[in-house]
């Protein structure tokens, strides 16, 4: 269902998207995870595994003790009877005791190994220098399990341990049955239908879930719309709250009906499978009692171990099903991520101290992975050192993409970027970015103490009150901080204890302040910084930049200020204006030059300027 809903998008974009590389193979991935577990917790993993095996045995041996009890009684062997009876008691106690100890050991191992694994996953994802894995839908889908459910990884160990335990029980039980007569091993065959049905059930359910996925998605969306503050206003004005609640339930029922029905049907088939085994079990007892004319103790052994056999087979099959269906998948994704991270090649040269000439783009073309149209096409551009450069253009013209390429978050598909005639790609991304600063249009709301939310903009000065105060002032965010009850110590974000929520504009000002933390960047990027600023702040902010540019204080290190905006009142102050349209650069020049040219820029500018006259 998901594929069919995506089909129109790929059809409309023309060329088929390039396929994503396949996931690594299952068994090597599992082995890799086992080794990771052993590396981080060698003692615990061995202890947990041994305990899981040990705790499997006492339960499986109950049948043996019962049979010995019977034989002792039949032979009139009082000592054997007493020993067998006591062995039963000891089995019961050991089953319990080993389970208690093993559960706790496993829990401890899981808790510890999951920290190591989550750390590993977080580090892998955070340290990939490009952001394709964070923006390309195929990669996002692939990594979502590792992002949201890292527990699938540590469940793999538990699942492996359990599987080993069940296999051991199964082996012991089959051996006991065969001790009566080797033919009895065939009883295991009667369990085949249940093995088949239990392997088939999850698939049936998954198909039903996929068929109901859109209805369920709608139900979830309506639930979110009904329970959040932002939509609450409109729901009340429109008077549609109860209507949406009813609609949510109806949509949910739609998806439920599909899933519930699939479950009932598959449960009935499963039940029939078990009936087949039940008949085989009764047949085995008849065979032993009437066919072999065996003793009561042999019948007892068959009764007790045959009864357990079904449970063991079911559990083994179920566990292997989980292992294959859910848990293995996580390890394959992890190994894929490891390989993906390792395959990233980056430059390693240190970043320059200052810009002498500037940054040059030569024939730069960039197509997002999986996209069919380039976001930037054949861009030639020179950003001179010390200049204030404004980039304008309508949504989707490639402005933000340009910023991402300059920050080395993607490498150009064709062409190259030169910094003072050195290829940008030859610099270590971390070192180059350390000489950048700025704010993105879709900034992140760092829900930390205000001091740190700003301070992360320059990590060495994370808790430096003077530095953050200065940055806040540069961004014109003083008013935001003044309104905070505990000033810069205030926890931001409404879901935290004593945390306060900020308006979009206030968050944006803090994002700007973060961008101004670094004292002396070579490239300062401001991507649509004014969308939510009021008139006075906006003015103050840009006056300062205009001043800084004209008095030359930006020029000491040759710093380039790159401003992305579609607000022309701000843009016109720039030394150089770059007009982008449909992924290409169409005009470059100063405000005066572009106005004189009476092209696209002039026309856009007039549209906005006229409304103030």
């Amino acid at each position: 269902m998901t594929t069919s809903s995506r089909a129109p998008s790929s059809a409309s974009t023309g060329a088929p998207a390039e396929p994503v590389d396949e996931l690594p193979r299952a068994l090597p991935s599992m082995w890799r995870l086992v080794r990771l577990g052993y590396e981080s917790e060698p003692r615990l993993i061995v202890t947990a595994f041994v305990l899981a095996l040990l705790s499997a045995l006492p339960d499986a041996l109950v049948a043996l003790w019962l049979a010995l009890l019977g034989r002792g009684a039949l032979d009139g062997d009082g000592r054997m009877v007493l020993l067998a009876a006591l062995a039963l008691g000891v089995s019961a106690v050991l089953t319990w005791f080993l389970r208690v100890v093993s559960t706790r050991t496993q829990r401890r191992f899981r808790d510890r190994v999951s920290i190591a694994l989550e750390r590993h996953v977080a580090r892998l994802q955070a340290s990939v220098e490009t952001v394709a894995h964070q923006e390309r839908p195929e990669y996002l889908d692939r990594l979502s399990v590792l992002r949201d459910q890292v527990f699938v990884l540590d469940h793999l160990y538990m699942s492996l341990f359990s599987t080993a335990g069940w296999v051991l029980r199964l082996g012991a039980t089959v051996a006991l049955l065969m001790s009566v007569d080797p033919v009895l091993a065939l009883l295991a065959l009667f369990a085949l239908p249940t093995v088949l049905t239990s392997g088939w059930r999850p698939g049936v359910e998954r198909v039903a879930r996929e068929r109901g996925a859109q209805a369920e998605r709608l139900a979830r969306h309506l639930y979110a719309a009904s329970t959040t503050a932002s939509s609450a206003k409109e729901l009340r004005v429109l008077g549609v709250g109860e209507r949406l609640a009813a609609r949510r339930r109806a949509s949910w029922e739609q998806s439920y009906a599909l899933v519930a029905r699939a479950r009932w049907v598959s449960a009935v088939w499963h039940t029939l499978g078990w009936t087949v085994f039940g008949l085989g079990y009764v047949g085995a007892v008849v065979f032993v009692a009437s066919g072999l004319h065996a003793s009561a103790s042999a019948v007892l052994l068959v009764l007790a171990s045959g009864g357990r056999l079904s449970g063991y087979i079911g559990a083994t099959v179920g566990e292997i099903g989980f292992l294959r269906g859910i848990w293995l998948d996580g390890s394959r994704r992890l190994v894929w991520l490891e390989q993906y991270a390792a395959a990233q090649v980056t430059g390693d040269r240190p970043a320059p101290d200052r810009l002498e000439q500037g940054i040059r783009l030569e024939g730069v073309t960039f197509t997002y992975p999986g996209a069919s149209r380039p976001a930037l096409e054949d861009v030639d551009l020179f950003l001179p050192a010390g200049a204030v450069v404004a980039v304008v253009g309508e949504n989707g013209a490639g402005k933000s993409t340009l910023v991402k390429l300059l920050a080395q978050m993607y490498a150009p598909t064709a062409g190259r970027i030169l910094v003072d005639e050195q290829p940008l790609a030859s610099f270590a991304p971390g070192a180059w970015r350390a000489r950048m600063a700025g704010a993105f249009q879709d900034f992140y709301r760092f829900e930390l103490a205000a001091q740190q939310s700003v301070g992360v903009g320059d990590l060495p000065h994370l808790d430096d009150r003077d530095a953050s105060t200065a940055a806040v002032r540069r961004a014109g965010a003083d008013d935001v901080v003044e309104r905070l009850e505990a000033g810069l110590d205030t926890q931001l974000g409404p879901s935290w204890r004593d945390g306060v929520d900020l308006s979009f504009g206030q968050w944006q000002k803090l994002a700007l302040a973060r961008g101004f933390m670094r004292e002396d960047p070579l490239l300062l990027v401001l991507d649509e910084p004014t969308a939510a600023l009021d008139a006075e702040t906006e003015h103050a902010l840009f006056e300062r930049y205009a001043d800084a540019a004209t008095t030359g204080s930006l020029g000491e290190s040759g710093r380039i200020l790159l401003l992305v905006s579609h607000r022309f009142s701000t843009v016109r102050m720039a030394d150089l204006i770059v007009v982008m349209d449909g992924s290409r650069v169409t005009e470059v020049g100063s405000h005066d030059e572009l106005m004189a040219r009476a092209g696209q820029y002039a026309s856009l500018y007039e549209t906005q300027a006229s409304s103030y006259r």
Binding site: S5, P8, L66, A73, V81, A85, L86, L88, A92, V93, W96, V100, V101, I115, R119, R123, V131, Q134, T227, A229, S231, A232, K233, E234, G239, L244, W252, Y256, V259, W264, T271, T275, G278, V285, A296, L303, S310, N395, A407, G430, R433, M436, Y444, F446, V456, L459, D479, F504, A532, L533, A535, H539, R572, M595, A598, A602, E606, S610, S611, Y612
Partner: protein, 605 residues
Amino acid sequence: MLKRFLARQEMVFFTALPRADARLGTLWWVLVVLRSALPAVLALTTGAVVAAVQDERPLTASLTALGVVFVLTQVVTPLHQAVGENLGLRVAAWLYDRLTDACVRPPGIGHLEDPELAADMAMAREFDSGVAGPPMEVALPFIAVGLVDFGSGLGSTVVLSGLAWWAPLLLGGAWFATHWLLRESAVWRDRNTDEVRDASKHADYAYRMAVDPPSAKELRMFGLADWTVDRFTARRRRLHELQAAATRLRERPLALSLATVVLANLVVFGYLGVQLSGGDLSLGRAVVFAQVAVGTSLLAFGGLNWALDGAAAPTAAVLRLEAATARAGALQRTGDRPADGLPAREIRFRDVGFGYPRSGRRVFEGLDLTIPAGGSLAIVGQNGAGKTTLAKLLCRLYDPDSGAIEVDGVDLRDLDVAAWRSRVAAVFQDFVRFELTLRENVAPDGAADDDVRAALADAGADGLADLDTPLSKQYDGGVDLSGGQWQRVALARALCAVRRGAGLVLLDEPTAQLDVRGEAAIFERVLAATRGVTTVLVSHRFSTVRKVDRICVVERGRVVEIGSHDELMAAGGRYRTMFDLQAERFADPTLAEVDEEGTVYDHLE
């Protein structure tokens, strides 16, 4: 006492099952009882078969009984699993309903913006997401396992009483005692302390920061990868230490438990062995008692397990919220006067004072403002000056703490809330993007297609998509809209309400997401479409503001200036200052030159 018992969250959960679905809920319990009884019955039939073999009697009757009981034992488990999963889904849906209702029903919105309810609300909203515990459909089968184990243990003790009256007391008592002896280490009781919750939330947040897309760019720009990973690790380790310390398996209780169950088992099984070898017990009966004596150990495994905890706590939390939201979302009073044709004369804020509940900050203090009916009024002011709050008060999403808002002389509180709101059409900055069809987005409560189409045309959104197209690519045949396109749809929604008779239009930053070309053109159209209808515009873009009849400047909770654009410009006050600041960068000699070249902007004047 009974009341306290029923108020326990486990009981709240169990009583919720039949309320969520009577049939499945009953069936689930019936199967719990059946599954509990079956192991003991199976032991009895096994004994009967063994006795028949030993005595060389015909096996037919006992084997048939065994076969039936055995097959039943096998099939009832997967059936119960299916019942539990489906019931779990229905319980979750029932709770979603209750919560949706609790959010939607209160007439105000205080319950959704109350900082004190925020934490409870956030937890309740996520109750089935698998964060606090497994989702209901996973939890219910797990809960069943605990109950069935315990029930089977009980069933076994009942049969064991046939061996000796004291045997079930001794053995059952010993196994049951392990629960009590190990209680300290079984559950993490203090996991809800602030320290634990903070560590857990901070760890989660740091993890999200490292792996989620929204932070990806800044994470790289500022080189935060190691910092956030270390932050995460430190907090997770702390959490683990707290947990490990709380649930450490203490050695002494474990040794004591072990001694107790070893002793009880030796006594009972020893007695059984002596009786059997002494000939006081037949082998058939001995086999039954041996099996149920082993089965009694299930008392130690079963009970109310962790899954119940994970399911019961959020259930209770959701149900608790109902009262809290009703209280926080209530309005001061609900009148019943009709609102037909309002406002005909004016809307008047009379000495209005207001602050958000529990925010400790006053938004308005002595606000006086008259909005004449039929005209347009713009409200300008700095961020946080209360522009949006004013719109909220007009929609009656809150009531003022002091003073009154009057419509044609009638206190807003005396009007029927629904009737008044049906007179209002509003576009908020954070308008809703329904993942529904275009038609339903424009007219969520239904409207004639002609009205829908006309409203879309008024908003400059005609030709966007077919009316039946879902506005999200996540649905078959759906399309995704850009931010600007969505804004036009939101405007069309309000304009559709106007077509259907709304008398007051609220526009809260209606063009913030439109591009340069779009903004000016769209606003012209909207003003034309709402001509004659009372219109209140909140904006900080003066290019839009100046087009309305009257403008009021709000500062520090009061109206400081009011008048037309020309009047306010002439007055030279706050408005003039703000306007000039924005306009300054356009007032430039180059404009004149281009002007002479005759470019295309005259029609906008």
